[in-house]
Subunit: 179 residues, 2 copies
DNA sequence: CTTACTGTACCGGCTGGACGGTCTTGTCAA
DNA sequence: TTGACAAGACCGTCCAGCCGGTACAGTAAG
Protein backbone atom coordinates (compact mmCIF):
# COMPACT_ATOMS: atom_id res chain seq x y z
CA UNK A 1 0.00 0.00 0.00
CA UNK A 2 1.22 3.48 0.79
CA UNK A 3 4.82 3.23 1.64
CA UNK A 4 5.95 6.73 2.47
CA UNK A 5 5.23 9.41 5.02
CA UNK A 6 2.66 7.45 6.92
CA UNK A 7 1.71 8.57 10.37
CA UNK A 8 0.92 5.07 11.49
CA UNK A 9 2.31 5.84 14.92
CA UNK A 10 -0.35 8.42 15.61
CA UNK A 11 -2.99 6.17 14.13
CA UNK A 12 -1.98 3.34 16.42
CA UNK A 13 -2.12 5.55 19.48
CA UNK A 14 -5.56 6.79 18.50
CA UNK A 15 -6.67 3.24 17.80
CA UNK A 16 -5.57 2.11 21.26
CA UNK A 17 -7.60 4.89 22.85
CA UNK A 18 -10.59 4.03 20.68
CA UNK A 19 -10.50 0.36 21.55
CA UNK A 20 -10.32 1.18 25.25
CA UNK A 21 -13.22 3.59 25.01
CA UNK A 22 -15.48 1.44 22.86
CA UNK A 23 -14.79 -2.09 24.05
CA UNK A 24 -13.44 -1.43 27.52
CA UNK A 25 -9.91 -1.14 28.88
CA UNK A 26 -9.63 -4.90 29.20
CA UNK A 27 -10.01 -5.33 25.46
CA UNK A 28 -6.83 -3.48 24.61
CA UNK A 29 -4.78 -6.28 23.08
CA UNK A 30 -2.12 -5.88 20.43
CA UNK A 31 -4.29 -7.61 17.90
CA UNK A 32 -7.31 -5.46 18.63
CA UNK A 33 -5.31 -2.25 18.43
CA UNK A 34 -3.55 -3.31 15.25
CA UNK A 35 -6.73 -4.23 13.45
CA UNK A 36 -8.40 -1.03 14.58
CA UNK A 37 -5.49 1.02 13.31
CA UNK A 38 -5.57 -0.75 9.97
CA UNK A 39 -2.12 -2.14 10.62
CA UNK A 40 -0.87 -5.67 11.01
CA UNK A 41 0.33 -6.95 14.35
CA UNK A 42 3.83 -7.04 12.93
CA UNK A 43 3.46 -3.43 11.90
CA UNK A 44 2.38 -2.42 15.39
CA UNK A 45 5.34 -4.18 16.94
CA UNK A 46 7.54 -2.41 14.43
CA UNK A 47 6.60 0.92 16.02
CA UNK A 48 6.16 -0.21 19.60
CA UNK A 49 8.37 -3.19 20.36
CA UNK A 50 6.27 -4.20 23.36
CA UNK A 51 2.91 -3.54 24.86
CA UNK A 52 4.57 -1.68 27.70
CA UNK A 53 6.08 0.75 25.19
CA UNK A 54 2.67 1.33 23.68
CA UNK A 55 1.22 2.20 27.05
CA UNK A 56 4.16 4.42 27.86
CA UNK A 57 3.74 6.23 24.57
CA UNK A 58 0.05 6.67 25.28
CA UNK A 59 0.82 8.38 28.57
CA UNK A 60 3.55 10.54 27.08
CA UNK A 61 1.40 11.56 24.16
CA UNK A 62 -1.41 12.58 26.46
CA UNK A 63 0.94 14.50 28.70
CA UNK A 64 2.47 16.37 25.78
CA UNK A 65 -0.99 17.33 24.55
CA UNK A 66 -2.00 18.44 28.02
CA UNK A 67 1.11 20.53 28.46
CA UNK A 68 0.87 22.24 25.11
CA UNK A 69 -2.79 23.11 25.42
CA UNK A 70 -2.16 24.49 28.87
CA UNK A 71 0.71 26.70 27.81
CA UNK A 72 -1.30 27.75 24.79
CA UNK A 73 -4.15 28.87 27.01
CA UNK A 74 -1.68 30.59 29.26
CA UNK A 75 -0.13 32.46 26.34
CA UNK A 76 -3.29 34.58 26.17
CA UNK A 77 -2.10 36.43 29.25
CA UNK A 78 -4.15 34.40 31.67
CA UNK A 79 -3.25 33.14 35.08
CA UNK A 80 -2.16 29.52 35.26
CA UNK A 81 -5.13 28.72 37.44
CA UNK A 82 -7.73 30.24 35.12
CA UNK A 83 -6.03 28.62 32.14
CA UNK A 84 -6.22 25.27 33.90
CA UNK A 85 -9.89 25.71 34.71
CA UNK A 86 -10.80 26.78 31.20
CA UNK A 87 -8.83 24.04 29.59
CA UNK A 88 -10.46 21.37 31.75
CA UNK A 89 -13.90 22.80 31.05
CA UNK A 90 -13.19 22.80 27.32
CA UNK A 91 -12.03 19.21 27.52
CA UNK A 92 -15.26 18.19 29.18
CA UNK A 93 -17.22 19.92 26.48
CA UNK A 94 -15.30 18.67 23.46
CA UNK A 95 -14.10 15.18 24.16
CA UNK A 96 -16.35 12.22 24.17
CA UNK A 97 -16.97 10.62 27.53
CA UNK A 98 -14.52 8.02 28.74
CA UNK A 99 -12.05 9.15 26.11
CA UNK A 100 -9.25 8.50 28.56
CA UNK A 101 -10.18 4.92 29.37
CA UNK A 102 -6.82 3.77 28.09
CA UNK A 103 -5.48 4.97 31.42
CA UNK A 104 -7.11 1.95 33.03
CA UNK A 105 -5.35 -0.34 30.61
CA UNK A 106 -2.06 1.29 31.47
CA UNK A 107 -2.63 1.00 35.21
CA UNK A 108 -3.59 -2.63 34.88
CA UNK A 109 -0.48 -3.34 32.88
CA UNK A 110 1.74 -1.59 35.39
CA UNK A 111 0.79 1.10 37.91
CA UNK A 112 4.19 2.69 37.47
CA UNK A 113 3.11 4.02 34.11
CA UNK A 114 1.31 6.69 36.09
CA UNK A 115 4.43 8.17 37.62
CA UNK A 116 5.04 10.66 34.81
CA UNK A 117 1.46 11.79 35.28
CA UNK A 118 1.96 12.00 39.01
CA UNK A 119 5.05 14.14 38.79
CA UNK A 120 3.39 16.37 36.23
CA UNK A 121 0.48 16.98 38.55
CA UNK A 122 2.84 17.59 41.44
CA UNK A 123 4.66 20.24 39.49
CA UNK A 124 1.46 21.75 38.20
CA UNK A 125 0.12 22.09 41.70
CA UNK A 126 3.36 23.62 42.89
CA UNK A 127 3.21 26.16 40.07
CA UNK A 128 -0.39 26.96 40.88
CA UNK A 129 0.54 27.74 44.48
CA UNK A 130 3.44 29.87 43.37
CA UNK A 131 1.26 31.78 40.97
CA UNK A 132 -1.62 32.50 43.32
CA UNK A 133 -1.21 33.72 46.87
CA UNK A 134 -4.61 32.48 48.01
CA UNK A 135 -3.88 28.88 48.94
CA UNK A 136 -7.50 28.12 49.74
CA UNK A 137 -8.63 29.29 46.30
CA UNK A 138 -5.97 27.18 44.61
CA UNK A 139 -6.94 24.13 46.62
CA UNK A 140 -10.64 24.44 45.92
CA UNK A 141 -10.25 25.14 42.22
CA UNK A 142 -7.65 22.47 41.61
CA UNK A 143 -9.53 19.75 43.46
CA UNK A 144 -12.91 20.68 42.00
CA UNK A 145 -11.50 20.53 38.49
CA UNK A 146 -9.87 17.21 39.22
CA UNK A 147 -13.24 16.03 40.47
CA UNK A 148 -14.82 17.14 37.24
CA UNK A 149 -12.18 15.33 35.25
CA UNK A 150 -12.68 12.27 37.38
CA UNK A 151 -16.41 12.27 36.62
CA UNK A 152 -15.52 12.50 32.95
CA UNK A 153 -13.00 9.70 33.16
CA UNK A 154 -15.43 7.32 34.79
CA UNK A 155 -18.18 8.35 32.44
CA UNK A 156 -20.37 9.54 35.31
CA UNK A 157 -22.62 12.07 33.64
CA UNK A 158 -23.90 13.45 36.87
CA UNK A 159 -23.82 17.16 36.18
CA UNK A 160 -26.04 18.78 33.61
CA UNK A 161 -24.43 21.15 31.15
CA UNK A 162 -25.82 24.16 33.03
CA UNK A 163 -24.52 22.88 36.33
CA UNK A 164 -21.10 22.34 34.84
CA UNK A 165 -21.00 25.84 33.41
CA UNK A 166 -22.17 27.28 36.71
CA UNK A 167 -19.41 25.42 38.50
CA UNK A 168 -16.77 26.63 36.07
CA UNK A 169 -17.99 30.22 36.36
CA UNK A 170 -17.88 30.01 40.16
CA UNK A 171 -14.40 28.56 40.12
CA UNK A 172 -13.19 31.28 37.78
CA UNK A 173 -14.52 33.87 40.22
CA UNK A 174 -12.77 32.20 43.09
CA UNK A 175 -9.59 31.98 41.07
CA UNK A 176 -9.71 35.71 40.44
CA UNK A 177 -10.19 36.48 44.10
CA UNK A 178 -13.66 37.88 43.44
CA UNK A 179 -15.36 35.53 45.79
CA UNK B 1 -27.93 -25.14 56.25
CA UNK B 2 -24.44 -25.77 57.37
CA UNK B 3 -22.71 -25.14 60.59
CA UNK B 4 -19.26 -24.10 59.51
CA UNK B 5 -18.24 -20.72 60.85
CA UNK B 6 -17.28 -19.12 57.65
CA UNK B 7 -15.90 -15.70 57.12
CA UNK B 8 -14.10 -16.85 54.02
CA UNK B 9 -16.27 -14.63 51.87
CA UNK B 10 -15.14 -11.49 53.62
CA UNK B 11 -11.57 -12.71 53.62
CA UNK B 12 -11.67 -13.24 49.88
CA UNK B 13 -13.04 -9.76 49.23
CA UNK B 14 -10.34 -8.24 51.41
CA UNK B 15 -7.72 -10.36 49.68
CA UNK B 16 -8.82 -9.16 46.26
CA UNK B 17 -8.48 -5.55 47.38
CA UNK B 18 -5.09 -6.28 48.92
CA UNK B 19 -3.76 -7.93 45.78
CA UNK B 20 -4.92 -5.00 43.66
CA UNK B 21 -3.31 -2.50 45.97
CA UNK B 22 -0.02 -4.30 46.47
CA UNK B 23 0.65 -5.90 43.12
CA UNK B 24 -1.45 -3.75 40.83
CA UNK B 25 -4.93 -4.14 39.41
CA UNK B 26 -3.63 -6.30 36.59
CA UNK B 27 -2.47 -8.92 39.05
CA UNK B 28 -5.93 -9.70 40.34
CA UNK B 29 -6.31 -13.28 39.17
CA UNK B 30 -8.39 -15.94 40.85
CA UNK B 31 -5.26 -17.78 41.86
CA UNK B 32 -3.61 -14.72 43.35
CA UNK B 33 -6.71 -13.78 45.30
CA UNK B 34 -7.26 -17.32 46.49
CA UNK B 35 -3.71 -17.74 47.71
CA UNK B 36 -3.80 -14.37 49.42
CA UNK B 37 -7.04 -15.29 51.17
CA UNK B 38 -5.60 -18.59 52.31
CA UNK B 39 -8.13 -20.45 50.23
CA UNK B 40 -7.78 -22.73 47.24
CA UNK B 41 -8.92 -21.70 43.83
CA UNK B 42 -11.75 -24.20 44.04
CA UNK B 43 -12.80 -22.70 47.34
CA UNK B 44 -12.88 -19.26 45.84
CA UNK B 45 -15.00 -20.50 42.96
CA UNK B 46 -17.34 -21.98 45.50
CA UNK B 47 -18.15 -18.56 46.91
CA UNK B 48 -17.94 -16.62 43.66
CA UNK B 49 -18.81 -18.83 40.71
CA UNK B 50 -17.03 -16.55 38.26
CA UNK B 51 -14.57 -13.72 38.26
CA UNK B 52 -17.33 -11.38 37.21
CA UNK B 53 -19.25 -12.25 40.37
CA UNK B 54 -16.21 -11.49 42.46
CA UNK B 55 -15.88 -8.06 40.93
CA UNK B 56 -19.57 -7.42 41.31
CA UNK B 57 -19.40 -8.39 44.97
CA UNK B 58 -16.44 -6.08 45.44
CA UNK B 59 -18.43 -3.15 44.11
CA UNK B 60 -21.50 -4.00 46.15
CA UNK B 61 -19.49 -4.46 49.31
CA UNK B 62 -17.83 -1.10 48.85
CA UNK B 63 -21.15 0.56 48.14
CA UNK B 64 -22.77 -0.93 51.21
CA UNK B 65 -19.89 0.26 53.34
CA UNK B 66 -20.06 3.71 51.82
CA UNK B 67 -23.79 3.97 52.36
CA UNK B 68 -23.72 2.83 55.95
CA UNK B 69 -20.85 5.08 56.98
CA UNK B 70 -22.60 8.00 55.31
CA UNK B 71 -25.89 7.42 57.07
CA UNK B 72 -24.00 6.85 60.29
CA UNK B 73 -22.31 10.22 59.95
CA UNK B 74 -25.63 11.78 59.09
CA UNK B 75 -27.29 10.27 62.16
CA UNK B 76 -25.37 12.79 64.28
CA UNK B 77 -27.77 15.46 63.12
CA UNK B 78 -25.50 16.76 60.39
CA UNK B 79 -26.36 17.91 56.93
CA UNK B 80 -25.83 15.39 54.18
CA UNK B 81 -23.22 17.63 52.60
CA UNK B 82 -21.16 18.07 55.76
CA UNK B 83 -21.47 14.37 56.49
CA UNK B 84 -20.19 13.61 53.01
CA UNK B 85 -17.26 15.97 53.37
CA UNK B 86 -16.28 14.64 56.78
CA UNK B 87 -16.59 11.06 55.71
CA UNK B 88 -14.38 11.58 52.68
CA UNK B 89 -11.82 13.41 54.77
CA UNK B 90 -11.80 10.60 57.30
CA UNK B 91 -11.35 8.08 54.53
CA UNK B 92 -8.32 9.95 53.22
CA UNK B 93 -6.84 9.98 56.70
CA UNK B 94 -7.50 6.37 57.65
CA UNK B 95 -7.23 4.25 54.56
CA UNK B 96 -3.99 3.43 52.91
CA UNK B 97 -3.38 5.02 49.54
CA UNK B 98 -4.69 3.22 46.49
CA UNK B 99 -6.88 1.09 48.70
CA UNK B 100 -9.54 1.17 46.02
CA UNK B 101 -7.32 -0.05 43.17
CA UNK B 102 -9.60 -3.01 42.71
CA UNK B 103 -11.89 -0.61 40.88
CA UNK B 104 -9.45 -0.67 37.99
CA UNK B 105 -9.63 -4.43 37.86
CA UNK B 106 -13.40 -4.27 37.75
CA UNK B 107 -13.41 -1.70 34.97
CA UNK B 108 -10.96 -3.72 32.94
CA UNK B 109 -13.08 -6.80 33.33
CA UNK B 110 -16.24 -4.97 32.33
CA UNK B 111 -16.95 -1.24 32.51
CA UNK B 112 -20.59 -1.99 33.28
CA UNK B 113 -19.61 -3.03 36.77
CA UNK B 114 -19.47 0.66 37.54
CA UNK B 115 -23.14 1.31 36.86
CA UNK B 116 -24.25 0.67 40.44
CA UNK B 117 -21.63 3.16 41.51
CA UNK B 118 -22.79 5.61 38.91
CA UNK B 119 -26.41 5.46 39.96
CA UNK B 120 -25.43 5.76 43.59
CA UNK B 121 -23.50 8.92 42.85
CA UNK B 122 -26.35 10.27 40.80
CA UNK B 123 -28.75 9.80 43.65
CA UNK B 124 -26.30 11.16 46.17
CA UNK B 125 -25.86 14.30 44.13
CA UNK B 126 -29.62 14.68 43.74
CA UNK B 127 -30.04 14.36 47.50
CA UNK B 128 -27.31 16.90 48.10
CA UNK B 129 -29.11 19.40 45.90
CA UNK B 130 -32.38 18.74 47.61
CA UNK B 131 -30.83 19.19 51.02
CA UNK B 132 -28.98 22.41 50.33
CA UNK B 133 -30.48 25.38 48.55
CA UNK B 134 -27.13 26.82 47.49
CA UNK B 135 -26.41 24.97 44.26
CA UNK B 136 -23.01 26.55 43.82
CA UNK B 137 -21.92 25.42 47.26
CA UNK B 138 -23.09 21.89 46.58
CA UNK B 139 -21.28 21.79 43.25
CA UNK B 140 -18.01 23.06 44.61
CA UNK B 141 -18.01 20.84 47.67
CA UNK B 142 -19.08 17.71 45.84
CA UNK B 143 -16.59 18.09 43.02
CA UNK B 144 -13.72 19.09 45.28
CA UNK B 145 -14.30 16.04 47.44
CA UNK B 146 -14.47 13.85 44.39
CA UNK B 147 -11.20 15.40 43.30
CA UNK B 148 -9.68 14.55 46.65
CA UNK B 149 -10.92 11.00 46.38
CA UNK B 150 -9.55 10.79 42.87
CA UNK B 151 -6.11 11.84 44.10
CA UNK B 152 -6.34 9.13 46.69
CA UNK B 153 -7.45 6.54 44.20
CA UNK B 154 -4.57 7.21 41.84
CA UNK B 155 -2.14 7.42 44.71
CA UNK B 156 -1.20 10.98 43.83
CA UNK B 157 0.03 12.31 47.14
CA UNK B 158 0.02 15.88 45.99
CA UNK B 159 -1.48 17.61 48.99
CA UNK B 160 0.27 17.80 52.34
CA UNK B 161 -1.72 16.91 55.40
CA UNK B 162 -2.09 20.57 56.32
CA UNK B 163 -3.30 21.48 52.87
CA UNK B 164 -5.85 18.72 52.98
CA UNK B 165 -7.15 19.83 56.34
CA UNK B 166 -7.31 23.42 55.16
CA UNK B 167 -9.32 22.34 52.15
CA UNK B 168 -11.73 20.33 54.24
CA UNK B 169 -12.20 23.20 56.67
CA UNK B 170 -12.90 25.59 53.80
CA UNK B 171 -15.37 23.22 52.23
CA UNK B 172 -17.18 22.78 55.52
CA UNK B 173 -17.52 26.56 55.76
CA UNK B 174 -18.89 26.75 52.27
CA UNK B 175 -21.27 23.91 53.01
CA UNK B 176 -22.61 25.81 56.00
CA UNK B 177 -23.12 28.95 53.96
CA UNK B 178 -20.50 30.81 55.99
CA UNK B 179 -18.42 31.69 53.02
C1' DC C 1 19.31 -1.66 -1.83
C1' DT C 2 16.86 0.24 1.95
C1' DT C 3 12.72 1.46 4.33
C1' DA C 4 8.40 0.34 5.85
C1' DC C 5 5.69 -2.37 6.34
C1' DT C 6 2.20 -7.09 5.58
C1' DG C 7 0.92 -11.84 6.59
C1' DT C 8 1.42 -16.17 8.49
C1' DA C 9 2.85 -19.39 11.52
C1' DC C 10 4.20 -20.54 15.78
C1' DC C 11 5.36 -20.87 20.91
C1' DG C 12 5.14 -20.74 25.85
C1' DG C 13 2.68 -18.92 29.65
C1' DC C 14 -1.09 -17.73 32.04
C1' DT C 15 -6.08 -17.57 33.01
C1' DG C 16 -10.77 -18.67 33.82
C1' DG C 17 -13.43 -22.23 34.44
C1' DA C 18 -15.00 -27.26 34.87
C1' DC C 19 -14.74 -31.37 37.38
C1' DG C 20 -14.15 -34.94 40.65
C1' DG C 21 -12.70 -35.92 45.02
C1' DT C 22 -12.33 -35.25 50.19
C1' DC C 23 -13.15 -33.80 54.70
C1' DT C 24 -16.40 -31.80 57.89
C1' DT C 25 -20.87 -30.90 59.91
C1' DG C 26 -25.64 -31.12 61.20
C1' DT C 27 -29.76 -34.14 60.98
C1' DC C 28 -32.47 -37.82 62.12
C1' DA C 29 -34.15 -42.51 62.39
C1' DA C 30 -33.41 -46.46 65.23
C1' DT D 1 -26.35 -42.70 71.94
C1' DT D 2 -25.24 -43.86 67.77
C1' DG D 3 -24.37 -44.36 63.19
C1' DA D 4 -25.79 -43.60 58.49
C1' DC D 5 -26.19 -39.96 55.33
C1' DA D 6 -26.92 -35.71 52.72
C1' DA D 7 -25.22 -31.30 52.19
C1' DG D 8 -21.68 -27.84 52.68
C1' DA D 9 -17.00 -26.33 52.37
C1' DC D 10 -13.45 -26.78 50.43
C1' DC D 11 -8.93 -28.89 47.56
C1' DG D 12 -6.05 -30.23 43.44
C1' DT D 13 -5.88 -31.11 38.75
C1' DC D 14 -6.77 -30.60 34.05
C1' DC D 15 -7.91 -28.20 29.87
C1' DA D 16 -9.23 -25.05 26.09
C1' DG D 17 -8.31 -20.45 24.74
C1' DC D 18 -6.24 -16.20 24.50
C1' DC D 19 -2.32 -13.08 24.63
C1' DG D 20 2.25 -11.23 24.12
C1' DG D 21 6.12 -11.93 21.60
C1' DT D 22 9.33 -14.07 17.91
C1' DA D 23 10.61 -15.41 13.42
C1' DC D 24 10.55 -15.03 8.86
C1' DA D 25 9.35 -14.69 4.10
C1' DG D 26 7.32 -11.45 1.00
C1' DT D 27 6.42 -6.83 -1.27
C1' DA D 28 5.92 -2.26 -2.87
C1' DA D 29 7.72 2.38 -2.83
C1' DG D 30 11.54 5.50 -2.94
Amino acid sequence: MSGRKTNSRAKILAAAADVAREFGPGSVSLEAVASRAGVSKGGLLYYFPSKARLMQALVEHYLAEFRSSLSQAQAGGETLLTAFIKRAAAECREKQPASRSWIFSAISQDPDFLSPLRSFHQQLFANLKEDNSDLTAVLICYLAIEGLRSMNLFDFDILSTEERELLVASLLEIAQGKR
